[in-house]
């Protein structure tokens, strides 16, 4: 057995990893934005769904990758629901329809490095068939 570490306090911040997607002729294209534009897009979406109270939420753009379009955001844990719902509602950027796909949410920034949901059991099956037969 490996030892398990449990953090007792609730974490102050939540981290979100997301991408902005756009559809062009049936293929998905990632939108790459500058920090300032991205921030204003998010604040506008928050203002649309949650009004001035939503616009007052502090959202930090930690990372804005140029190549893959991956964005990492940070919010206070109490505002997570509001931020995520407004990202869900987000429907256009500069008049073209788009979607914000939230890939991962975690209270720890470190855990965004690996995505357990992207693991495919089919690939692993050959190596560790024992676990899958049991379940």
């Amino acid at each position: 057995m490996s030892s398990r570490v449990t953090a007792k306090q609730k974490s102050e911040y939540y981290y979100l990893k997301c991408v902005l997607e756009q559809e062009e002729n049936g293929t998905i294209k990632y939108i790459v934005l500058e920090r300032v534009k991205l921030k204003s897009l998010i604040v506008n979406a928050l203002k649309q769904l949650h009004g001035l109270v939503g616009a007052a939420i502090t959202v930090d753009v930690l990372k804005c990758e140029k190549t893959s379009g991956e964005i990492i955001l940070r919010v206070k844990s109490s505002d997570l629901i509001k931020l995520r719902s407004s990202l869900t509602i987000l429907n256009n950027y500069n008049g073209t329809p788009c979607r914000c796909n939230v890939k991962q949410v975690s209270p720890y920034l470190m855990s965004l490095a690996a995505d357990s949901r992207a693991w495919s059991p089919v690939e692993v099956r050959g190596k560790q068939s024992r676990y899958y037969e049991q379940s």
Binding site: Q48, I89, P97, C98
Partner: protein, 278 residues
């Protein structure tokens, strides 16, 4: 854990467009997808029953095989939504064409019809038009009756993404519905008009929190409740009074042979006994 499901993908005449919806949903992490066809049967004209189209053939979609390789658990279902504006239209629901769909859902437009549907009509899902002001209040007794029968209620989220005024109405009506049914038997599904309006299951769970659901109830709206709808539909469709179901079993060849031998043997023994008697 029950897999995630979206039970309201609108049917498209162009199968390639339909396939695009399905592949987008699979990419987002859904595994159970129901293709929805909305009809409002005509009462006055003769043969209203015949005008309802039959369930679409979902096995021969282009590129489905490739998709099944990436997502082996993918389950496609057909669903019909009957919009009911008149008492007369209720009789179409037990009809053969409607019942041949995997999931039957009903959309009542006034309170009397809603009461009737929640009491007796054979359906799996009750949906409402949430994009405008509700024409009637949803009441506790009727909702409880429907929930007792295992019928679920549906919230479409795509209108909330599409437009500002639709969003307000959707939020109002969803809050009201969830308050009345206390978060039980609610499903959230897309009802999207474009593929870009589809969202991932975890985003929808989060949206459910905003609508006043508890986290576990919210998760059930896209997973467990969808599964229970499918079971309910199967119990209605493929069983006799929900108690007995008949299934054709493939009979192994060896047992058939042995059976014949037994019969022959018994015949022989009969003959022998007769002989003895003689």
């Amino acid at each position: 854990m029950a897999s995630f499901g979206d039970i309201s993908v609108p049917y498209q005449n162009d199968l390639r467009v339909l396939m695009k919806y399905i592949s987008t949903l699979v990419n987002l992490g859904y595994e159970t997808i129901a293709i929805n066809r909305t009809v409002s049967p005509d009462v006055k004209g003769k043969g209203g029953q015949d005008k309802i189209p039959g369930p679409p053939n979902l096995t021969s979609l282009p590129g489905l095989e490739d998709l099944k390789k990436t997502c082996p658990k993918l389950k496609l279902l057909s669903r019909i939504t009957v919009i009911i504006e008149d008492q007369q239209q209720v009789r179409f629901i037990p009809g053969e064409t409607v019942q041949s769909y995997d999931i039957v859902s009903v959309q009542p437009t006034n309170e009397k019809l809603f009461q009737q549907i929640s009491q007796a009509v054979e359906c799996d899902v009750i949906s409402f038009d949430m994009t405008s002001r509700m024409p009637f209040y949803i009441k506790h007794p009727q909702v409880n009756l429907a929930i007792e029968r295992g019928v679920s209620f549906e919230i479409l989220y795509a209108p909330a993404i599409r437009d500002e005024s639709l969003r307000k109405h959707t939020i109002t009506n969803a809050l009201e519905l969830i308050r009345v049914c206390k978060g039980r038997n609610v499903v959230m599904s897309s009802g999207a008009e474009q593929t870009i309006e589809l969202r991932g299951p975890y985003d929808i769970i989060n949206l459910g929190l905003l609508f006043g659901l508890k986290p576990d109830q919210s998760k059930a709206t896209v997973s467990r409740n969808v599964r229970s709808i499918i079971y309910h539909a199967e119990a209605r469709n493929k069983t006799v009074k929900g108690a007995v179901s008949l299934e054709k079993m493939p009979v192994p060849a060896s047992s058939v042979k042995r059976g014949h031998e037994n019969v022959e043997q018994s015949k022989e023994s009969d003959l022998k006994s007769k002989k003895f008697k003689v």
